[in-house]
């Protein structure tokens, strides 16, 4: 939802399938490198050095650190959300009906606590 809304704010048309590992990452600037970075770190993949280098090259030193920071903190946020079962607030629940259905997010175990 925040990806969609922030993209609209700068008139960017994005393909959210990339968030689920599908195509469309390139609809965001350097999106393919960013998705590969998120995957390599979160899964602990063997290609992480190569991917890290690509992010540094494309986004510069500051962009690389910010990307690392987002990947890091979301590896914490997902644990607080899943471990506490915090439900989506009503506005977010309503605003994401289609997106959750289309992307298959409703199939995640934590969905039971909101739906």
């Amino acid at each position: 939802m925040l990806l969609r809304e922030s993209s609209k704010a700068i008139d960017l048309s994005i393909d959210t399938n990339a968030t689920m590992g599908g195509e469309g990452a390139e609809t965001v600037d350097h999106g393919a490198e960013l998705v590969a970075f998120a995957e390599a770190v979160t899964w602990g993949l063997g290609n992480v050095d190569e991917v890290r280098e690509a992010v540094q090259e494309r986004l510069g030193a500051d962009g690389f650190v910010e990307a690392a920071s987002i990947v890091g903190i979301f590896n914490g946020l997902v644990r607080t959300a899943d471990a506490t079962g915090i439900p989506l607030d009503d506005s977010m629940k309503l605003a994401t009906v289609e997106a959750r259905k289309d992307l298959g997010i409703n199939e995640f175990r934590g969905a039971l606590n909101t739906l």
């Binding site: 925040l2 990806l3 809304e5 922030s6 704010a9 700068i10 968030t19 689920m20 990452a25 965001v28 350097h30 960013l34 998705v35 998120a38 995957e39 770190v41 979160t42 899964w43 602990g44 992480v48 050095d49 890290r52 986004l59 030193a61 500051d62 962009g63 650190v65 910010e66 990307a67 690392a68 920071s69 987002i70 990947v71 890091g72 903190i73 979301f74 590896n75 914490g76 946020l77 997902v78 644990r79 607080t80 959300a81 899943d82 471990a83 506490t84 079962g85 915090i86 439900p87 989506l88 607030d89 992307l103 997010i105 409703n106 995640f108 175990r109 934590g110 969905a111 039971l112 909101t114």
Partner: protein
Amino acid sequence: MNTLSFVYDNIDVREDIADAHRQTWDALAQAGAFWSDVDRIEIAKQARAARIQRKELAFNRTYPATQLTAQALDAARKIAADAGKIDRAWASQQVASLGAGAYAELVSIVAAVSAIDAFCEALGRTHEPLPEPDGGSCHAAQAEGASDIGGYLPMVDPWEGPNVSRALSLVPSANQLFMNNVRSMYGGNGGGFNDMVWDGPLSRPQAELLAARVSSINECFY
């Protein structure tokens, strides 16, 4: 604050991020609301070990020796390595056994260490050694106004700020331990949660693409 920790050599990490990490380590070393200083470091150690072995099947993972109870170990390890598999039945068992406040504090420790460790891995840096226990007394402070809003444990309601930031609001010191990192690592100087346009090294869509991919890999509905 221990300024000898989190020295990011050769990497230009914003000082507010490094400070948040140092503050987390300092706080972790002290007794919290429900867990002693020793227990908190033990929880962190177990969580780190579990997360490092997250690709292994649960029965193939090995852990450092510990004095923590079986229930605390189960909670720390599962949240660190298999959070996407948590359901209400499992969480209710933990809350019933540990107490809601102690469970919230344990989650905050696991989440903070996981976030900082993942950041270090993303930078290509080794994990920061965990701090030594540094004393203090448990204060058992819980928030007034926490109630059942449909989660696995009570949360403060009504709440000002992003909804997810109240997940651990039952125990203010636990929420602070983790949210202090969120404030510096998510957006920082570039923009805040409510700003759809960020003026930093990453655009908001770039940051949200990363965030959403990490969330879906972890099968996090939220």
